[in-house]
Symmetry: C2
Subunit: 328 residues, 2 copies
Amino acid sequence: MNRMSRVLACLCLACASSPAFSADPLPSWNEGPSKKAIVAFVDKITQQNGADFIPVEARIATFDNDGTLWAEQPLYFQVLFVFDRIRALAPQHPEWKNTEPYRSVLKGDMKGLAASGEKGILELMATTHSGMTIDEFSAIVTDWIAHARHPKTGKPYTAMVYQPMLELLAYLRQNGFKTYIVSGGGQEFMRPWVERVYGIPPEQVVGSQGELEYKMQDGHPVLVKLPKVALVDDKAGKPVGIQRFIGRRPVFAFGNSDGDRQMLEWTTAGTGPRFAGIVHHTDAKREWAYDRQSKIGTLDKALDEANQQGWAVVDMEKEWRVVFPPSR
Amino acid sequence: MNRMSRVLACLCLACASSPAFSADPLPSWNEGPSKKAIVAFVDKITQQNGADFIPVEARIATFDNDGTLWAEQPLYFQVLFVFDRIRALAPQHPEWKNTEPYRSVLKGDMKGLAASGEKGILELMATTHSGMTIDEFSAIVTDWIAHARHPKTGKPYTAMVYQPMLELLAYLRQNGFKTYIVSGGGQEFMRPWVERVYGIPPEQVVGSQGELEYKMQDGHPVLVKLPKVALVDDKAGKPVGIQRFIGRRPVFAFGNSDGDRQMLEWTTAGTGPRFAGIVHHTDAKREWAYDRQSKIGTLDKALDEANQQGWAVVDMEKEWRVVFPPSR
């Protein structure tokens, strides 16, 4: 960087972090303990001569997706995508009517599906997530996310992202953070739409992923998705994914379930100031209320650890003025 | 980003890419065909209203490391690191004197080592690259890169990077490119020093990598390097690594050997303007001269394809004014 652009870059940063440009960067958050803790942390680590200053290149923030940036009930949205795909592909597979686990999906029989166990789920994943090129898969997801509707709210899934978290992502980026998704969800399932919805580019999406094969197809190189898991980016897989893809330890991390516990531990065990937050689903009226007993997004051990370690636990009902973005 | 910082960001970009700030961004390149092709490409894709304009977020440039950004003779520098580590660890392993492949390494017997085959090499890699935490490994590499010297030139390895390529990296970044390393070398072997040397941050380093295990050690979480390969980022593994880590196809790529062929194919097979370049080691006097017959950095099929496809082939002897940075 030459001298003039360095000067201007400094100016930009100064502007971006100046409160004069935004009276309240988090308008959908009530003046509760979580908002106070977030703002205090960002103020502290951006003070150039302060003891807690963190240089821009180390301002890495990682966010879980399901239950942290968008909703995850009654089932992870990627599972609902799988069901939709099975229904869409069924006419080409008449044998599915009599073959588990397809039969249960087509009949909407969740008990029957549960009976097929992990093997059944893996088969559904392989059928819907492999055997095509990454470009083909990306086109399928792009089409689905544009047209599919949530079974309870009737909204597009991208309308079920959390407005307070969108503000938090933007606020961190304005303060020089690089924001990443670190999710148990599929990396290639998220990449086609998260840039538009969250402002997070494809190269900052860490997720579960399958093996890929590079080969020539009709004289053109393609990458084909294989039915073999390369990384399960959940629980202890999250710090592994973070190290592989980012190579630096985050200073700020947010999750909502026991699947995020190791990411929050790894983040806060680093030296210097660290922030860990948990979205606690306490709002049965505007969203869903669930924690320790829920099969989706179980929050049990991570809640105990949050209380012990003083991680921010966001009481959705009390701390969020709005949950979903106003409809456009 | 608020309005003021957006305006300033635009100003920065304008300054950075303005020729007024650097009469010649590539002073170590002669006015040969490669420099002309590079500058013409960058000029073309940065013209806001031009037919070939590429938006900043899609300006992804990937570079091989060994033989492209730094030298690779008489052996890949990471192999020389392995030998140094075996020698450093030998006092704690008296049995190595009589055990292959250690014995050959300690005696400097390259024929004996070759006789131990791929199995021997994998054992040496496992011994020197696993069984420690990533922080411990990073400290070992940092110490080695600071003190080790090249067997022929006596220089630190970081002084054997190519000055013309450093200028190319900086020139691309000034024009809004995100520069990545995509190397067959170890990801964690490169990360400790490439930011300082090339200006490439850890999160933009894609390399071969081993599995990691997250666990608690004395009450603190650690990531331990396991003796199991997760990705060989070479040949067909390069497009796979690019997709996994970047999730976008590069528009600019540089390599020097058949190991880079698939990366260059993948890059140039995308739609719109693309650039592929190859460093051709033609300079026996200032560096080394090798291509089709060399065991290290074999350039054979990729050279044929470059000639067929019109990729830029940099004649090091003729096109580079200097090879290595002036000593400081």
